[in-house]
Symmetry: C2
């Protein structure tokens, strides 16, 4: 019997670098469970996110559309009411779409009110939750400052911690994301504390907690007569605050920290926008050796914990006989500079930030020929929405979803005219860097356009571009953006960017099938153009307009 995927387990980590997995070549970090999925599936080596920041990147994943198309260009930009999501498309194909974890979705409450969408109706809840049915939503971020709470939502994880007896209002902050020093809370927000043991039982920490919720979901679905489902299991880790519970807090040490991927030439006459980012407080922190020596082992420990918890999920699927019917996807919303290129965080266009791990296991027999292989084609995060719709048996709505199904690569086929370039965008208008650079909201935006050889970064506001030769300089040290010898390359990359900018991204009310149906149809519905007399037109097209004049109204 031919096996096919019935369900989709769409697992996302947050801020997981593409190269911090053993299957991707990390020298010290051993991730046997990621590798186990890679051995069963295809690992994509050139997968880019459409925006290297959580909220915007995720809206791209969840809509299958570029950030410029859906407009949610930064954290906290609500996804506009009426944007179609994975949930809309999958449900149309008969597949449920569930959320277990983080989305970073902000509801467009103003738009919902304007259109009279009741927030308590099913339509309203799904609209507010980015199209998902919520098994559990926890964005994994419960910071608080002098002006109050960052998120404002109740965190189910935090509430659960309180039920387990963790004291205080915010055990997420004071236990899961803090250690102890001299009897005092040692918050992981201060990176000197990253090497401490998180003050939480390992099984109570965020990654196992969410895994438990996922296993409950799997059991409940298996026990019911449920529709096929896509479940978005979406972890907050290894996202900062960087601190790990035992035993992960001391599995790795400074001797496992790779040398930073940076070169003094990067700071020699640097691009002004890059320089502003690198010289931000986070950049300067990660330029310090002690930051990297504390943070990176914690980051690795958190990934190791993710791997172990992934093992629990895989074991559960195997034990319940679901491996043959479940497509498994492992990916991340963006990377983490970790000091590479003199930078911290993400939000710029080097591979450390914009490239993601992407591993897809398709249980279908048609994928048997590609198991354990690597695909080096240019892949975008928006391709997953198309892939999932196709896996659900639907037809990809190309008038909404801008990504393309990866199924051909999973099935060892060569897709027709695969993309020649990948795009990523970052809107930094809300950062203090924009203010320091003195650029307007409109100009505080940058775009990456990359083919397999070159990566160009375009900046609005009159700055020169940056250019990297990914073949001769895979480390992206040498910025050729002002090299006269590369004018032709730069022109070619701008040609790609221009082509992308002219795309149709808002034709959502007319599908390709609609167009085929409509083409030329107005003529047979009475629009007779170009006819001078009856010799120019078929009789049936003019028939409605002829006959005896029954009355003469000419004065």
């Amino acid at each position: 019997m031919t096996k096919t995927a019935k369900n989709i387990l769409f697992i996302m980590y947050d801020q997981l670098r593409f190269d911090y997995l053993s299957c991707a070549g990390h020298p010290h970090l051993h991730t046997p469970n990621f590798d186990r999925v890679a051995a069963l599936g295809v690992r994509f080596s050139r997968a880019y996110v459409q925006s290297p920041i959580c909220g915007s990147s995720r809206m791209c994943f969840y809509t299958g559309r570029y950030a410029q198309s859906h407009g949610a260009e930064w954290n906290g930009f609500p996804l506009r009411v009426g944007e179609k999501t994975l949930g809309d498309h999958l449900r149309q194909a008969g597949m449920d779409c569930w959320l277990i974890g983080k989305t970073h979705m902000r509801a467009d409450l103003e738009g919902m009110q304007r259109l009279g969408v009741d927030p308590d109706s099913i339509i309203g809840v799904r609209t507010a939750e980015c199209g998902f049915d919520v098994w559990v939503r926890d964005d994994g971020m419960v910071p608080e400052g002098p002006d109050g709470s960052y998120d404002g939502r109740v965190s189910p994880y935090n509430e659960w911690l309180k039920q387990q007896g963790y004291p205080g209002d915010n055990p997420w902050s004071q236990y899961a994301n803090s250690g102890i020093r001299d009897g005092q809370i040692a918050p992981a927000w201060l990176m000197e504390n990253a090497d401490r043991q998180a003050n939480i039982r390992e099984q109570d920490s965020e990654t196992p907690w969410l895994t438990d919720r996922a296993l409950e979901f799997l059991d409940e679905q298996a026990a019911s007569d449920a529709n096929p489902w896509c479940a978005h299991l979406s972890y907050i880790k290894p996202h900062w605050p960087y601190i790990a519970p035992a035993p992960y807090h001391d599995m790795y040490g400074p001797n496992h920290v790779p040398a930073p991927l940076r070169h003094p030439c990067e700071l020699d006459n640097p691009h002004p926008v890059f320089a502003e980012f690198a010289m931000s407080s986070i950049g300067k922190s990660f330029q310090r050796d002690e930051t990297r020596k504390k943070v990176i082992p914690a980051y690795m420990g958190l990934i190791k914990q993710c791997d172990d918890q992934l093992g629990r999920v895989l074991d559960h699927l195997e034990a319940t006989g679901q491996m043959d019917s479940t497509m498994i996807v492992l990916t991340s919303d963006h990377g983490d500079y970790l000091g590479d290129h003199w930078m911290g965080e993400k939000m710029f266009m080097h591979d450390a930030s914009v490239k993601i791990p992407l591993i897809i296991y398709d249980p279908s027999s048609r994928a048997d020929g590609t198991r354990g292989s690597t695909c080096d084609e240019l892949v975008e995060s928006i391709d997953l929405a198309a892939t999932f719709v196709e896996a659900a048996g639907g037809e990809v709505p190309t008038h909404w979803i801008e990504g393309r199904s990866l199924q051909p690569f999973l099935h060892g086929e060569t897709p027709e005219a695969w993309r020649e370039f990948a795009i990523s965008e970052y809107n930094y208008s809300l950062t203090t860097a924009a203010a320091r650079l003195g650029v307007s909201d409109e100009d505080a935006r940058l775009f990456m356009v990359a083919d397999k050889r070159w990566k160009l970064v375009h900046f609005e506001g009159g700055f020169r571009p940056m250019l990297f030769d990914l073949k001769t300089d895979p480390e992206e040290f040498t910025d050729l953006g002002s090299s006269p010898d590369h004018a032709d390359v730069i022109a070619k990359m701008y040609g790609y960017l221009g082509q992308w900018g002219r795309r149709q991204s808002q034709r959502g009310t007319r599908s390709a099938a609609d167009l085929a149906r409509m083409r030329g149809a107005s003529r047979s519905r009475g629009i007779v153009l170009g006819a001078y007399d009856e010799n120019d037109i078929d009789a049936d097209l003019i028939a409605k307009y002829t006959g005896p004049a029954k009355a003469d109204y000419r004065s």
Copy 2:
């Protein structure tokens, strides 16, 4: 006392060329009422529509957004639910927004159903009617062919004609838009009939009928305690079918028909897309002298009728003392080739098609210095939405409306950094030309980018561009698109087009004020990035994360 506009009368004609008015220099057509408004206001000599086809162009006017931004790129493409319209913006500023006539709006019924918008609710009706409250809607197009009716809507005008005793099911077709020949209906769809007298009493024809509705509207508003209003008085004429009632049918004759603006060099090695359009049946018809000699006098007669009816409106405003409180706008949704450039209809990028008449009378005292003047700056149809919001006392929502207020030009001020280029788009994927050229839906699109000197037309699908020098060749005869001497100009125009393609057009859920409020705010809500230790951070920003550890959960 300083006068200001209380109300806005936004009058649109359909397919009215920019140069078929005496105030715009037409040698034979005398339009004293258009000229009367021009003498009171500002006439814009470089006003472009964002798409030279009714439906798409109108959606640009009514949203203040480019066609690529709202996605309604052809007739019959529904305006996506959630797109904000003039009505949304004006009502927010306390001004009602009424429709009297045509919009060409197609409701996004699928989107409304998806979001649970009740079509019978006020929200639903406004969503379906492009944001307008409907005084009367009549799209002025009731054709019928072997496959049925083009529009499908009930035409109030047609119903009214029946009430007046006009026989048959479709007096719009058989009387208003037909003459008589040998006792038979002589439909104006056959252009040989364009010189006949329409078989209708003049006062019953479309333009006076709609004017009567407008005068009723004015009276009712004046008699009530109504809010300030914007009324879109939107005529179908002088749009085809070309035929005029007496006395307009024979006011002009072949001797008033200007020579066609065309040159044999245009057909010498022509651009393949242009050639396909010019060699369509409508193009070939208008290449025949007899077509122009029949059609153009009828077209002029219809405009003359529009002018007389405009006179009734102006007289009514004067008689009721409303001229001092009513902004009056005269414009069109696109032009008409009428045989220029070997073409008929519109839907291409020469001035005959893409340039529109635009006259704005602002009763405000601040406009006294500009009365009777001409403005030669680059103006786009999307600017009207911004102009109206400003006239209504609102703040232009730049995160929705892409046009800019024309008020500075009306008030004799110099706006800051006015646009350097204008854009127009045309999606021809639904035409038979696309099939003949063998281009895909995605590639069947063309873009105009024009500054005051140059006009470049870009074609998707690998074609070369067209380029015209508007200074040395204002007739647009000489296509320089393949001229090596103009490579720099072409590059510059592509630079503009690229800049336009990268704009933010979908940031509707975040206003400029939102951005200002949000900038840097996450830090004081607990997102502490870049701090290695307490020396790197203000104490208040880390205060929430400190204190005694109440319990030790480290195993």
